[in-house]
């Protein structure tokens, strides 16, 4: 069981750059790990470290590491590329609990939701306003399916897959749901076998 995600109030961190691929979120050379812990250090590593691997003083992300929770407002087409789940692991460990963008790549979105990182697509005009509101706290209310950003934009509703929403709100992952259908799966396998004969 992970911490249920019902409502989150946290400051915005904006990264306006479009098409941030998962190689940027966590470079491939850090994928030789066999655990999912401790990857926050590696989040956006090559952006916030110099060629010798030293943190770049004054880089915005270095200043806030470990001080989450945060809500990431990312540029268009966030999380494209490699299917590595290390990307949401690294973002979560860094302190992000939600990612908002106009477009979020498919695999990254499902990987995020499967780990309790809310990945949400929002309309372009609101996205622009949130990008300009760095540091301001907003509220994502999953129960009411509403985002409240007083002083930035009017409250607005969002759509999220009902199944993903339930998993987030209950703090469960979909594995339990699938295991609960073991009998249905066994029936399917039996049907497959009989068709083959």
């Amino acid at each position: 069981m992970r911490q249920p995600f019902v409502s989150l109030t946290a400051p915005l961190v904006g990264l306006a750059q479009a098409s941030v691929d998962t190689d940027q979120i966590i470079p491939a050379r850090f994928l030789t790990t066999t655990t999912r812990q401790g990857l926050g250090d590696k989040a956006f590593f090559d952006w916030r470290h110099d060629a010798t691997g030293q943190p770049i003083a004054g880089h915005r992300l270095n200043g806030i590491a470990g001080q989450g929770p945060f809500i990431l407002v990312a540029g268009d087409n966030f999380g494209c590329g490699s299917s590595r789940e290390h990307a949401p692991w690294a973002l979560l460990d860094f302190g992000f609990r939600a990612v908002l963008s106009t477009r979020i790549a498919d695999i990254f979105r499902s990987n995020s939701l499967n780990n309790g990182l809310l990945a949400l697509e929002i309309p372009a005009d609101i996205h622009q306003q949130l990008l300009r509101a760095e540091g301001t706290a907003i509220t994502i209310d999953l129960a009411a399916r509403k985002i409240r950003a007083p002083g930035i934009c009017p409250d607005f509703g969002f759509d999220l897959d009902p199944f993903a929403r339930l998993c987030l709100m209950e703090g469960t992952d979909p594995m339990g749901y699938l295991l609960g259908h073991s009998a249905t799966i066994a029936d399917f396998e039996a049907r497959q076998r009989s068709e083959m004969q």
Binding site: Q17, A18, S19, D21, D23, Q24, P27, A28, R29, L31, T32, T33, T34, T35, R36, D46, A51, G75, D76, N77, C80, G81, S82, S83, R84, E85, R103, A105, D106, I107, S110, N111, N114, N115, D161, P162, F163, L166, D173, P174, M175, Y177, L178, L179, H181, S182, T184, I185, F188, E189, Q192
Partner: protein
């Protein structure tokens, strides 16, 4: 209900989805989709096996699961003590973890001792495990490669790897269907990779998001299986869930020769069923796109997304947006500059996009009897042990070595650069792989995506070169050529 009631026209993708539904999709929950083949490798699986262990469960269908090691494996041979030059203890531990997990779960592992080891998306089609009409998943975004056989194949994350191990099923809302019809005629010297890069250029890096693409049209029908794999492989670079091609006689001929495909009457029956796997003539796609390649010439990328690419013989155009212009800065290119002639430091030939035998043949045809430009590093990594064996049987390894290229062990190598095969910061790599993201081939490295022929031509010239320069004699002028 009349027995004659006709079902609505379906796409190939509909057909495969429908036949694998354990439980249909509802408003409240995604569909439960049965998986016929689950491919596993060392990078995206350790946390999944750990998840199963935490719940005290084992793999439901080890017989439908196949593992190999390819991503973090060294491509240099072991030393005289048999010690392999892993890039780090972590990489070595990751490989050991998969070997242990497979032993514990009874999963077949094509490991160091296997003659069938290789890049996961190269070996399954070689063995004949990639079958038309099946559902295939792997914790790797280039799983779409298998779509070349008319399979619904897509990449999944590690949580999903755990779910498939535990239940042989995946939760999936139905993506939309797109058909990309490629029309010709196909010009000479245009490789499958050139077509893939052009299709990507037309679709854009997110143009396929949320869709399964069926590639169709006379050009696709005339493609070899290896070219179809290259094309489907890069579907994810347009954000697509999967890419597929309806099986036909080319597909059946490939499978007939595969070691793990049944023979005789059983094969005949399977082939008959495969021939029925196509989209109905009146099937409706959510999106239809037609791509004309009649004027196409060899392609190379110039930006940091795979769609930022164009003909080698043309000039680099104005960036389309600020993101692309940042990519230009990273690559050190400017609008108006010729694409061809850009200086190159490293050439990489390999990967699940272009690491198969025909790719090595195409490179060897240009490298034969020539030498690579001074100071240039050329790494050639076959896609699998089988590719390596066959290439060596044909003497291609000698062609490469004599040209001054490094002939490596099979693996992902510089495609993802997590095994120690990397380019240095600032170096420009002409690469036959699939991604030119900033730093993909090492921190600060710069990638130009191209076909094996283009990579080979560039290796000789020391600069990005149109392979058609080598179509005849005399030799191209090396000095006058460089920009």
């Amino acid at each position: 209900m009349s027995a004659e009631q006709v079902s609505p026209p379906r796409t190939l993708f509909d057909r495969i989805m429908d036949s694998h539904l354990v439980r249909g999709e509802t408003d409240d929950a995604p569909a439960i989709l049965y998986v016929d083949l689950h491919l596993v490798h060392e990078v995206t699986s350790p946390q999944a096996f750990a998840g199963l262990a935490a719940r005290g469960i084992k793999t439901r269908r080890p017989d439908l699961t196949l593992a190999t090691i390819d991503h973090s494996t060294p491509t240099l041979p072991p030393d005289c003590n048999g010690k392999r030059p892993f890039v780090s203890p972590a990489a070595e531990a990751q490989v050991a973890t998969l070997l242990r997990n497979c032993a514990e779960h009874g999963i077949e592992m094509l490991g160091w001792d296997s003659a069938d080891r290789g890049i996961v998306h190269v070996i399954a089609p070689e063995l004949g495990l990639t079958l038309p009409g099946s559902v295939i998943v792997c914790g790797d975004s280039h799983t779409a490669t298998h779509g070349a056989f008319g399979a619904l194949a897509f990449g999944i994350g590690t949580s999903e790897v755990a779910m498939v191990l535990a239940t042989q099923c995946i939760l999936q809302r139905k993506p939309k269907a797109m058909r990309v019809t490629i029309t010709g005629p196909r010009p000479a010297f245009v490789a499958g990779k050139d077509i893939a890069l052009y299709v990507l250029h037309v679709l854009g890096f997110s143009g396929g998001t949320g869709h399964v693409i069926e590639y169709a049209g006379e050009v696709v029908q005339a493609m070899t299986m290896e070219e179809r794999m290259t094309l489907c492989n890069m579907s994810i670079e347009a954000g697509a869930k999967a890419g597929l091609v309806a099986p036909d006689e080319t597909t059946i001929a490939w499978l007939r020769a595969c070691p793990r495909v049944p023979e005789g009457a059983e094969f005949v029956a399977m082939a008959a069923q495969w021939r029925t796997l196509k989209s109905d003539p009146d099937a409706v796609f959510d999106r239809e796109i037609s791509v004309d390649i009649s004027g196409l010439s060899p392609m190379a990328s110039w930006g940091t997304t795979p769609d930022a690419a164009g003909p080698i013989v043309e000039q680099i155009p104005e960036p389309r947006d600020t993101n692309e212009s940042r990519g230009f800065d990273y690559m050190g290119v400017a609008a108006g500059q010729p694409n061809e002639g850009r200086k190159v430091d490293v050439v990489f030939i390999g990967s699940c996009t272009n690491g198969r035998l025909s790719d090595l043949e195409a490179a060897a045809a240009i490298l034969r009897g020539r030498v690579v430009a001074p100071g240039l590093r050329v790494i050639i990594a076959p896609g699998s042990e089988a590719v390596k064996r066959e290439a060596e049987a044909r003497g291609l390894d000698m062609v490469f070595r004599e040209a001054g290229a490094e002939w490596r062990e099979p693996g992902c190598s510089m495609c993802i650069a997590m095994n120690g095969d990397i380019a240095a910061a600032g170096e420009v790599v002409v690469s036959t792989s699939n991604r030119n993201f900033a730093g993909r081939q090492g921190p600060g490295s710069r990638t130009i995506l191209a076909s094996p022929a283009t990579a080979a031509a560039s290796a000789i010239m020391g600069a990005l070169a149109d392979p058609r320069r080598f179509a005849g004699s005399p030799e191209p002028e090396q000095e006058a050529f460089r920009a």
